[in-house]
């Protein structure tokens, strides 16, 4: 067989002002905002097609972050802070809470159906939740991007690495590298600013249904943590990854439970019919903790008590699920027994890292700048602000867009005033060409040759699927997956860390048959990078702050010493842990003072 070489691939070099990696909720909204409020050219690089990609592919049945009459944004901050036992960024939460109503109204203007009462007011479910028909929410967001003349959407492209350079002011991000998932084509994209909006990470742990329905999971199985991985490798600081997210779901179909719990006021009951939710508490982790504990005590399976609801309510549930999780409706219909006849069994999912629900992700300032210049983060990939959900991700997309427009303007002014310290704008397509700008990190040639190398591997025994299963099994058994009721200890984490190194070696030698095969290999690499960082974070928080999300068996109690953030940076191939004091102010900057205040702990 002929050896594959770089000549077998096309290489497209592109220059733009702003590169947005990931055309999901936050990325689409940011792209439109930049185009509507500046003359800058934007590229949206999307792994699938923005019309139906990311978390909103199937639709969503409610907007979970909305401030209803009688409440103020501060109430939202308080609620999220309490739910997360204090480990949140008040500045980020407040900035989101102040914007969620505006983005909701904007979505309605763009065509989203929101339920209203006879006075024309939104019908809320609780005080922070509006009822919608969100089946077409993603096409609405995508159409708004396609309307913009300065935005180019490149669908079916997988970005793998950030392009770094160094000038008088230090390191900065100046673009990214990637490949087409369809054609033999590599991309080198130069950009003055890069927004990461790739979503969170699923598929790190062994899933609930590891066989035929392995991808029937809560979070999109195609969100592989690519943004975290790229950021970690570029030296960006991460926060609170150890605050994993586990969802309470309908068993097997992994469909949402909130719609039933809140819609028909179903309570959580054990196999004896006892309502157990009050015993453990009503936050998401407490609801799952209760379910796990009831099972451990021999009182499982656990259910949402729906028996006896009206046929009308049952029909409404069928419709609600068709708009967001059709498998649940199918399950009810094909079993011939709906929720009015049978209680709905529930279970916790495998853990995810996802900054839109819990707080793991990029460490950002209030404007959504990461710790590496030129790099911004929004949506599930951004940390510090749990419970942001769809409207919060949109709000963050808009805020990151504003910061990018402001920074690009400021940099241009600076370059005009002081050409000697030119930071090397790359609009001429020649890359960072100024004498003062040196490229940092991996060069295009190295990255492209790494892509090519996978086509020349023999791949005789180990496939990508096998390596992925190996990783998921290690995480499940040694890093607090479903199998161990989400509990982990230091000895197990050390074992996990050690064994993941072997999987990493396997990943380097996997064979790609085609571009899709290469995509699968890179998705595995991303997950491994996230898993390694996650283990370091789990290890560093020597307490149990949250049941289920961080169930540390060596330290089963909450410890006030850890009322701080656990952050990390990858330096010279090693993860360095940084403990940072809680931010309770309304504004946070990445300044030197904050760095000096941080207590450091090398692990």
């Amino acid at each position: 067989m002929n050896k594959t070489t770089l000549e077998d691939f096309d290489i497209e070099k592109i220059s733009t002002d702003v590169l947005i990696i990931g055309g999901g909720t936050a990325g689409c909204y940011a792209a439109a905002h930049i185009a509507e409020n500046s003359q800058y050219h934007v590229i949206v690089a999307e792994k699938a097609d923005i019309k139906r990609s990311g978390c909103l592919a199937a639709g969503v049945n409610a907007l979970n972050a909305y401030i209803s009459d009688g409440h103020v944004p501060g109430d939202y901050v308080e609620y999220a802070r309490k739910d997360a036992e204090g480990i949140v960024r008040d500045d980020l939460l407040l900035s989101i809470a102040e914007k969620v109503n505006d983005v909701t109204h904007d979505l309605e203007k763009k065509g989203l159906v929101i339920l209203k009462d006879e006075n024309g007011d939104y019908v809320t479910r609780g005080w922070r939740n509006v009822k919608i028909n969100g089946e077409n929410i993603k096409p609405i967001l995508a159409e708004n991007v396609y309307r913009q003349k300065n935005v180019r959407v490149i669908n079916h492209i997988n970005i793998t690495d950030l392009k770094l350079s160094k000038d008088a002011e230090g390191r900065k991000v100046t673009g990214a590298y990637g490949f087409s998932v369809r054609e033999r084509k590599f991309y080198e994209i130069d950009a003055r600013a890069v927004l990461i909006a790739t979503g969170g990470a699923a598929g790190i742990y062994r899933p609930n249904n590891p066989g035929f329905s392995r991808h029937k999971m809560w979070y999109p199985p195609f969100n592989t943590g690519a943004g975290y991985a790229m950021g970690i490798e570029a030296g960006a600081e991460m926060t609170t990854l150890e605050n994993r997210f586990v969802a309470l779901r309908c068993k097997d179909t992994i469909a949402p439970t909130g719609t039933i719990a809140q819609g028909v006021h179903a309570r959580q009951v054990n196999s004896r019919g006892e309502i157990y939710e009050e015993k453990y508490g009503l936050t998401t982790p407490e609801r799952i903790y209760g379910t796990v504990e009831e099972k451990r005590a021999g009182r499982g399976p656990c259910y949402l008590k729906t028996e006896g609801i009206s046929k009308e309510a049952e029909d409404d549930l069928y419709k609600a699920y068709l708009n967001m999780a059709p498998s649940q409706t199918l399950k009810w219909l094909e079993s011939g027994r709906g929720p009015s006849e049978d209680n709905v069994e529930i279970e916790g999912t495998e853990p995810y890292v996802v900054g839109g629900h819990t707080a793991g992700g990029f460490w950002i300032d209030t404007q959504r700048r990461t710790t590496v210049r030129g790099l911004y983060a929004a949506g599930d990939v951004a940390g510090g602000a749990p419970q942001k959900y769809v409207t919060g991700a949109l709000a963050e997309g808009e805020m990151a867009a504003k910061a990018i427009v402001a920074d690009l303007g400021a940099w241009s002014t600076k370059e005009k005033d002081n050409p000697a310290s030119c930071t090397g704008t790359v609009q001429d397509g020649s890359g960072a060409s100024s004498d003062n700008v040196k490229s940092e990190g991996k060069a295009a040639g190295n990255i492209f040759m790494r892509y090519v190398s996978h086509f020349n591997e023999t791949g005789e025994t180990v496939t990508c699927d096998q390596a992925e299963e190996a990783m998921q099994k290690i995480m499940d058994e040694y890093a607090g997956g479903i199998r161990c009721d989400y509990r982990y200890n230091e000895a197990g984490l050390e074992t996990a860390s050690d064994r993941l190194k072997s999987v990493r070696k396997l990943a380097d030698k996997l064979k790609a048959e085609d571009m899709y095969g290469l995509l699968k290999i890179y998705e595995l690499r991303d997950r491994l990078t996230v898993a390694e960082a996650l283990i370091a974070h789990l290890y560093a928080r020597k307490e149990t702050r949250w049941h289920i999300f961080g169930e540390n068996a060596d330290h089963p109690e909450k410890d006030e010493k850890y009322s701080c953030y656990v952050n990390s940076v990858l330096e010279d191939g090693k993860i360095r842990i940084i403990y940072r004091p809680l931010v309770r102010e309304h504004e946070y900057f990445h300044d030197k003072a904050a760095l000096q205040n941080a207590e450091e702990d090398a692990t």
């Binding site: 199937a58 049945n61 199918l330 094909e334």
Partner: protein
Amino acid sequence: MSVMIDRAKCIGCGRCTDACPGNLLILSEDGKARIREVRDCWGCTACMKNCPVSAISFFLGADIGGNGSHMSVKRDGFLYKWTVKLPDGTDKIIDIDSRSSNAY
């Protein structure tokens, strides 16, 4: 859970291959759509909603309670007509008007 494609109905337009958030659907050499790996479907039904001829249907694997039924959707203006075909040959139909909100 996964999707299956009725090759007799498929017209090879490729819309499903664009819509799948996992890049799982491709056109075979004969121009008909197929799924690369049935186990990799998330179950979002984006492909079904983008298929102009309702050639794609959705089913649950036996591991999560599937017993041979499958579900398809046909779009007519604002209406989504969901049809579940049960193993005994009977159909169950649910119409959803995309202009009306969820009750829950």
